[in-house]
Amino acid sequence: MSELSDLIADTSERIFHDLGDPQSVINSGDGGWRPPLWSAIEEAGLSRAMVPEALGGVGIPLAVAFDILRIAGRHAVALPLAETVLAGWLLGRGGISAPDGMIAVAPTQRHSRLSIDDRGRITGRCDAVPFAGEVSHFAVLAQNGDAGCHVALLSADEVAVDAGHSIAGDDLGTVICEATEPLAAAKVDGLTQDSLMQFGAVARAMQMAGALEALLDMSVQYAQERVAFGRPISKYQAVQHNLARMAGEVAAAVAIATSAAYALEQGSELDEAVLIEAASAKIRVGEAAGEGAAIAHQVHGAIGYTMEHPLHRFAQRLWAWRDDFGGEVEWAERLGRVYASKGGLGMWPTVTAA
């Protein structure tokens, strides 16, 4: 890729490694790693990677911005980075400047809905919003009946959050708005809740692809070091084949996630091709997440099943991320209906047109 993308990748890698390394996070025993990591992320401009140039962004190509999330996934970064990046994009669509600090997006599930009334007040309930309890702002998408979608910026002080935790122990909550006055709002033509679901799905696919890459490296390395019956376990064919299978899952995840990110960069989120890429990515990467985490655990034996080992930081986030912005089943139903509508002979032209 280009020099810019290399530079951004190197910067991201260095920040996440130096300040968010999973083993150090575990060893620290508290959340003390969070403020310095977040400051470094903000200072490097990573959290504003999708803010349009006109609104003060630095004009990073979309696929490169998505790649930051893959690199964050390689370190199991447990801060609302993906959320704040997505917020930059969403607010940007409405010409609204993204404030500094952590921003969550909502809705993150297809069944959740926010509506905006004629006086611009927002009402509704969004389930399972990642980091809802930690952010200072929300970037939301709200519908005005059939009249289209609005993008709005809300202060966290103005909404009610029923806080809980994801399977990874990260903040996850229900957001409730009752005639909430937004800080800013704008109607955006051609934007739908699907657009947000697709962007979110691809963001999560990239994070998961990164986490899977890290798990594969970790597992291969461990297999080479761990000795049983007088030989490194990497010499046993059963272990080799498990890791080969895992490599296939990781490869599939990386291939489809980066392909979908590229599709979002090149196309409009209303294109059927983009829907197909995003849906395929969330489904296939979600499947890989389940398989990959399971094999990583198997290869590691008991040591991987401990608090002190970093494996769980990746595995648990894979399990959490695959549920955000629609899980495999939901996207598969959606995608299945698209292909069914094409008929047997229409399937292939649909694939090649994407």
Binding site: S234, K235, Q240, T258, W348, T352
Partner: protein
């Protein structure tokens, strides 16, 4: 970091998509003209069809112009290949030569041999078979014992190849024969690749039938067969060095996941435009999996056309792809079982399904088994 595995997003270039339109029109014409029937599985042997493909310039299309090729890109070839697979086009006459044998000859044969054979492949009139496996040498290729002995007239071949697809229809075989014993420090040493004219004296071919009674497999017996000196391909005793790059081509093409695709097409017809949630979910997963494999396969094709040797990536595509195409019939069967029996398209689906279920077992054996492939992947990961 995991930069060891590389799958960059690659899109087919405009000229490849333009070619796709041409290929689809050609297929439609040939189906209308009765040359073949759409959706037939198994790549039938059809000389008339291969000649027409040749007239289009689509056999050996990436090869040098000086031998009659078109020097078109590997990604353009990819498009022709996948369109023929989806249509179930009868490409058997030229398939192996176009994919594997032609490139081997271009790389390793002496000049006169290239000039004699390559144009015939390109004309669609020359079929190749691959003579590697033997009764006691399958996964362990380096156990091959069919002998080639140097004499004054050339090389004398004695022994037996087995499982040789298309040998009964082939003009040539690329055979792997033992020219020296293995050495104590390299058991791969001592095998040489030869070009074998199947009409030579001392070659007899006997059918070995598939379980459904069809004939593709053969046993090929060599009884003092003479092969001229200029039919040696590459280094004597050093065939093992010639394998790797070719395998990247052989492992990653669309035929590595589209072999049972007719079942999916028939399933979509059976499901109809308004699926219930079970059928929709099942179909959606299958499509996401297939779509991902195609992206991976195109990514490898992109690396190959950029002159790289993505051996690990190609092996990963083949492993995932063959496992998927093997499972597809079973998954399709399950989904179809949830639909009303009297659906339109049931009989067609059932016929396609049964064929796919019957051929499924071979998909993870031919061209190297899953176990062997995973060994190669493990080596690529640095585990052995």
């Amino acid at each position: 970091m995991s930069s060891a595995i590389q799958f960059d997003p690659v899109r087919l270039p405009e000229e490849a998509e333009a070619l796709r339109v041409e290929v689809r029109a050609f297929i439609a014409e040939e189906v209308a003209a009765g040359t073949f029937e759409l959706g037939q599985p198994g790549r039938a042997f059809n000389l008339a069809f291969s000649r027409k493909v040749a007239q289009k310039g689509w056999i050996g299309m990436t090869w040098p112009k000086e031998y009659g090729g078109q020097e078109r890109s590997f990604l353009e070839r990819y498009v022709v290949n996948e369109e023929f697979l989806i249509a179930g086009a009868p490409t058997r006459v030229h398939f192996t030569a176009d994919r594997q044998s032609g490139p081997v000859i271009l790389k390793y044969a002496p000049e006169e041999i290239k000039r004699k054979i390559i144009p015939r492949i390109i004309a669609g009139e020359c079929t190749f078979s691959i003579g590697m496996s033997e009764p006691n040498s399958g996964s362990d290729l380096f156990a091959a014992s069919t002998k080639a002995e140097r004499t004054n007239e050339g090389w004398r071949i004695n022994g037996q190849k087995l499982w040789t697809s298309t040998a009964h229809q082939a003009d040539y075989m690329i055979g792997l024969f033992r020219t020296s014993p293995p050495t104590s420090d390299n058991r791969r040493h001592g095998l040489t690749q030869f070009l074998v004219d199947m009409k030579a004296d001392g070659i007899s071919t006997r059918p070995v039938y598939f379980p459904d009674g069809s004939h593709d497999f053969n046993e090929v017996i060599f009884d003092n067969t003479l092969i001229p000196d200029d039919h040696v391909l590459g280094e004597i005793d050093g065939a093992w060095k010639q394998a790797t790059a070719e395998l990247a081509y052989e492992r990653s093409g669309p035929e590595r996941f589209l072999e049972t695709i007719q079942v999916l097409i028939a399933l979509i017809e059976l499901i109809g435009p308004e699926p219930d949630s079970r059928a929709a979910e099942g179909l959606g997963r299958l499509m996401a999996q297939m779509f991902t494999m195609r992206r991976m396969s195109i990514s490898v094709a992109g690396m190959l056309s950029a002159g790289k040797e993505p051996v690990l990536e190609a092996s990963l595509v083949k492993d995932l792809g063959t496992i998927w195409e093997q499972k597809l019939p079973a998954l399709a069967r399950d989904l179809a079982a949830g639909l009303p029996f009297d659906r339109v398209g049931r009989a067609e689906f059932q016929k396609t399904l049964e064929h796919a279920i019957r051929i499924a077992p071979k998909l993870t054996i031919q061209g190297g088994t899953t176990e062997v492939l995973r060994g190669i992947i493990a080596r690529g990961l640095g585990l052995r």
